[in-house]
Point group: C2
Chain length 435, copies 2
Amino acid sequence: MDSVKIGICGLGTVGSGTFNVLQRNADVIGARARTPLQVVHVGARRDNPACDLGPTRVSRDIFDVARDPEVQILVELIGGTTVARELVEEAIRNHKHVVTANKALIAEFGNEIFALAREHGVAVRYEAAVAGGIPIIKALREGLAGNRIEWLAGIINGTGNFILTEMRDKGREFADVLAEAQALGYAEADPTFDVEGIDAAHKLVILASLAFGMPLQFASVYTEGITQLTPQDVDYAEELGYRIKHLGVAKQNGEGVELRVHPTLIPEQRLLANVNGVKNAVLVEGDAVGPTLYYGAGAGAEPTASAVVADLVDLARDISAGQANQVPCLGVAEEQIRDLPVVPMSEVKTPWYLRMVAEDRPGVLGRVATIFSEQGISIEALIQKAPAEGETRVPLIVLTNTASQGRVDAAVAAIESLDTITGEIARIRVEVLDG
Amino acid sequence: MDSVKIGICGLGTVGSGTFNVLQRNADVIGARARTPLQVVHVGARRDNPACDLGPTRVSRDIFDVARDPEVQILVELIGGTTVARELVEEAIRNHKHVVTANKALIAEFGNEIFALAREHGVAVRYEAAVAGGIPIIKALREGLAGNRIEWLAGIINGTGNFILTEMRDKGREFADVLAEAQALGYAEADPTFDVEGIDAAHKLVILASLAFGMPLQFASVYTEGITQLTPQDVDYAEELGYRIKHLGVAKQNGEGVELRVHPTLIPEQRLLANVNGVKNAVLVEGDAVGPTLYYGAGAGAEPTASAVVADLVDLARDISAGQANQVPCLGVAEEQIRDLPVVPMSEVKTPWYLRMVAEDRPGVLGRVATIFSEQGISIEALIQKAPAEGETRVPLIVLTNTASQGRVDAAVAAIESLDTITGEIARIRVEVLDG
């Protein structure tokens, strides 16, 4: 049988991993695809000692791959959103299917790219863009296709989860663990994308669009990183029976959707609370299936390659059957994609963890409780620690029932204005993740 | 656009669940499939008050559905392996695609059914046959297609997991919990299939064939149930840092495969060890992706319906593209399916948990240790409990390093023949589930 001809652009970690997996597992991959998958052209500015390209044609100009008449599927693994976008669009205009691992590209320019792909009758696949090797895109697009998805919540940034795991296991400070993660190569020299939640926001937007059949809305995601978390918060959460995880959450809420990335307290017995180190996991609640969870490596050369190759096998199966675009890019027929309003954060309701520093004297607690009550917020649990030797102020930790951010903002402002409260109140949302 | 026409045979729990999900979620399902999914014919001996069939055509003879020229996909939900097999084969001969939730049918007669389907150019899909609503078949067949699967291990019987969870949480006896599970409807009046591991063996065989590209070999699975487990074993396991789960395990081992279902000690921090109640989960180790885990409801009307509908959406996408058989039934091109020898249990190596009753006197422990040593088995941990008041015998718990069952059999026989050891030695395998 004729092989399916593949061009790979980018020969960094994921590019070389993909090339290597395609070579090493050529037998099982060919058997599953019912046709050999052949890399006929690699575009890369330089070779990578991690992979032996053998006689494969190599171009220093990646656009040569996009214009190579032999190439049927172009794999974009160069990253970034400028050249990568031009490359992908050039490939589509040349009637090539595209596979990419580029979450920023899909989250920010997916709507335009998918429209162009549709116009040219080709497919764009991006399993590797979210949660590395975990086949979560396929689960949402196909495996759960019978469900109305109610919500999903995921640990979708491995660097952040590594940092939180270390903070908890060893009682370390954020900055200290970050420096180690950088030394280990888990975090970039500029860690902003990971620790400020931007990377997670890219991935969340993709998951939400697949789950709810809506266009990609990267600009609308509320994004809060993990830089403000302290070892005390990790400890107090533990005392209350929770762990702190950095979650991406997407939820149908009346006529709108919540799209938010932030640190979150999760009950400690939940599986998500027990996903540690650089691993990723996504919990999805469907109306028919109930909760399902998907766990695995969220990054790394070969886990990401695993997802790229899965997309290639899907396309190869379709190409050899003479048809390659029956699964829409977002899993929903394009004409049925509908724009859903994003719920303003002030209206988003969750329970809350609040930590403040209060004078240890009669009446303070009562005043704080009254303010919550005035905002209609009920208190689920309260811990007042004993004052340290010679100290007149004590930490006061409050766990509230479900309350909108608007009401919590108002309560926090009122409490912070009390002269018995020092400094700012630390706030972290809670998700019960029932089911 | 023309709808895809579906016939459903069987209107029990899953049949009515499937009908209801197709009605309730018709809008999202149609948008995802790019075509409406229409149930045009239901075959059932009697109506089910759980679903309102409206104007849908109903036949009391299910074979009418298999012969209905309008039906494009027949959904077999009657269960059993005699009439169900005839029905499925009749549908295939009438050039209908088949979707089934019937694990026994696929595990025992899948090879013949898939061959017939191939001959007639139709697809057979069975996502619902393993782990209910969890899209694990799709993950193995498609999502992990780039990997050489090294092993998989799953909690794939919800009844068994409910019983083990209750035994652990409440220190209850097996028989006592089983009676409650029967009262709650989690266990059948005849619980043999669940508690003796036959149901899990059916599912394991299907997972193994997908993972390793081999024919279904139900007769070759080693199957051990949970009826012999005692609350003491659950407690001692806990003391050693383990939980007891009933696992199906399939592993590439040299030129062969291990296929086995049995109670297993798992380190308590593993996610699988924390899957409780009636939930299912499958852990899969691929050479590129590393470990991935899939968790969710393993049974129930709508979770199972979720999997059935996912298969229907896949087929509808293909049918409306004019092609419906590009993904082979076992995920591997039929001519490349290869029979792999099943490794005899005597050669299967795992660590072991052993519990015996020994006289509490000097020299006994030394004699036992010597026997292990003579068999080349090293001891990882040993607990000797204090004797109860007025008792001269004590429980002795041994955790071994990896050893073949053959050597453990020999050691156990030698130890049981000692006059300082009373009765039989309880034995449970251990899986470390690294990664």
